[in-house]
Amino acid sequence: MKRRDALKSIAFGTVSLVAGPTLLLSRKSQAQEAATTAPDLVAVRNGEPDVMLDQALEALGGIGRFVPKDATVVVKPNIGWAREPETGADTNPLLVKRLVELCLNAGAKKVYVFDHTVSAGPECYSKSGIEAAAKAAGAVVALADNVRYYQAVDIPGGVRLKSAQVHELFLSDAVLINVPVLKHHSGSKATAALKNLMGVVWDRQAYHKQGLHQCIADFCLYRKPHLNIVDAYRVTLSNGPQRARPEDVQTMKMLLASTDIVAADAAAVRLLKGSPAEVEHIALAGAAKVGRLDVDALNIRRIVL
């Protein structure tokens, strides 16, 4: 241990000893403490999706840090495609199920799950297994395939994306939990946390027309999720995002969690064949100070089960 680190530890320990008991008095300060001590990123390996989620959240300071009692939670998985869970095209339903359970156990008043699907909504919801899993856990599975759910908002400081029609649930003051699945992508090279937020807007075509990567990065200037959980249990390494062959999909049994959407993506794409600089929207979001791009400087908690 270096001298500076040792001094830091002593100082931190002293502060904790003095402040700890008082902080523990309220849930809010407990959450604050968790936030100051928690790692920037947690990566879990070798478990089932639900077990890895439990571990990751514990390492981040517990679900209570994000979900206060009586909170409304909006969970945004990737349900873009009408494909079975084994294909890895959508977020793992077991992961969504466990997340909903944890939120409700933590005292959440209501948990919503939705995605603006690319294929026909009802087909995606049912075939992905997410609708059934989320409902079984007690969530309200909301719809997103009608323009009436969307409201136009301005994107402050957006370079290309100046305004967007955003789903009303994402506009609410709920706790936003982004649960993407990590995949190779034939259009943008990779998709994870940042790109998953295209599923809360109505007009995706506008992104493609105005510049896909810049629009994805711009959207985060409007609002960022409170927590990002990247599903890397089954990872599409080629022929993504939706019609990969079984041999394109690797059962990696990993999960990443971070409050920093850019850090989550920058680390996640290292599991693919590439590095964050090559996926333009991650680099652009990093440059816009949406989050941290410097994966090697992050405080990462690595857990092997």
Binding site: A43, R45, N46, A82, K110, V118, S119, A120, G121, P122, E123, K127, V140, V141, A142, L143, A144, D145, N146, V147, R148, Y149, H185, S186, G187, S188, K189, R204, Q205, A206, H208, K209, G211, L212, H213, L237, S238, N239, P241, Q242, R243, R245, E247, D248, V249, Q250, T251, M252, A267, R270, L271, E278, E280, V295, D296, L298, I300, R302, I303, V304
Partner: protein, 523 residues
Amino acid sequence: MRRGLRALRIAVGAAVFLVFAFAFLGVDAPAAALAALLPRTQAGPMLVRLVGAGSLAAALALAVVVVVTLTAGRLYCAAWCPLGILQDGVRFLARRLPWLRRWQDRPPRAGWPRWRRFIRWTVLTAAVVPAVLGFGALAASLEPYSAFGRIIVHGAWPLGGLARDALAAGLERLDVYALSGTEPLWPPAMAAGLMGAFLLLVIVLAVLGGRSYCTTVCPVGTVLGLLAGAAPLRVRVDAAACTRCGLCARRCRAGCLRIEGDAVHLEPSACVACMDCLAVCPAGAVRYGLPPAAAAPRRDAERRELLAAGSAAALAALAQPVRLLAGEHPAASDLGPVSPPGSGSRERFVRSCTACQLCVTTCPSRVLQPALLEYGAGGLLQPRLSFADGFCEYECKRCTDVCPTGALRPLALAEKQRTQLGVARLHKTRCIVYCRGEECGACAEVCPTHAVYTRPQDGLLCPEMAPGSCIGCGACEYACPESPKAIEVLANAIHGQAAEPHATEVPAAPAPPAARSTADFPF
């Protein structure tokens, strides 16, 4: 008993009508099941299916209708035809106005008018002969089941859809997402206009003349009327008990009952078995049943009609080989409309679709839209794939499941996923990636077979085509953000068979050994 038959007709009719309306209005699962079943009991589509696809089930359904009509009269028209029931509904509402009611109940003129006979046979011939020759638009516009479908889909759907949206929005305030969010279907103005004109005709006829459409215009009604002429079970008036008060004739919605001097006439080919006369007769002289003693002799008029029908059928049968000899051979792919999966070829489709719109209302992606003149005048309002409105969902084959006429043959999902409706053409001179040097990939992302894929070049992912794997679903065209579209589907006039899905990259490396320590993380 006499009142009971009328009540039964009303109850069955109302139930059938509601079930039909629900089948056409809903896209939810129970409606889909109804949509696949009910239309297969309808005479018009079953005749087309029998002729076009030689279906045994269609033959059976038709046989039931024929046998029922031959023995018991036009019960089918009374309570099984949705358009007939719709007219009864219109008449019921019109009778709430006293002055209309008085006018409707005026004493009828004597005799079943010859002009009605002339019109119905002319209409039947004018509809059926061109249909056999390959031009079915007139038959399809008059066929009652299909006409009812258009009234619901092009008229009630948009209005019903708005109501449904409002109801859904209300429920969602309570966090009940019970109704699917699919947006209402708005028909093209011309489709709505044609439907409106037809509906107006039906309403006017129903208000002024009850079931006039059924007795004078409807081609199905004319044929069933002919069969009903021979039915032993029919409405009968006991001449001894009858006081000649004429109440039955005034009330008759088909205009088939007449009191002339001392004689009571019933035109069995026009009677739609509504049973109103049974209920209204103060003397109880009207009954529905078998003849009292010896059967009445066959009348000349019936014989003439039979002869006319026979010659029309013979003409039609003769025309068939002529048409096949002169058959058109369309080019493999062209600028014409893309016909739905299961249609086989545009030519076959146009001949056997009655434009009932059931597939249009069932399609979850809204890609099926009624054509205007894209197929030519003969294909008016038949569905085509409109990639401005949606794309054909890879995992769906609902249209082929519900089509009652056999115009869309049922396909197994695997078969549908290899059916090539058309082939996409990529215009690199319009494509964002090639023109602006920015990544997009909207087309490749949605392609279910990787027929349009991306290739790394200069740090960008650039779209390319493998046309053999393309199935013409139009996902790429729908998703392309450029206008005009940088990728467009050209129709296959005759559907083809696509190659296996294209694979763009070598398979991923085998999975690394499971990580045993934190050093195995790539970050």
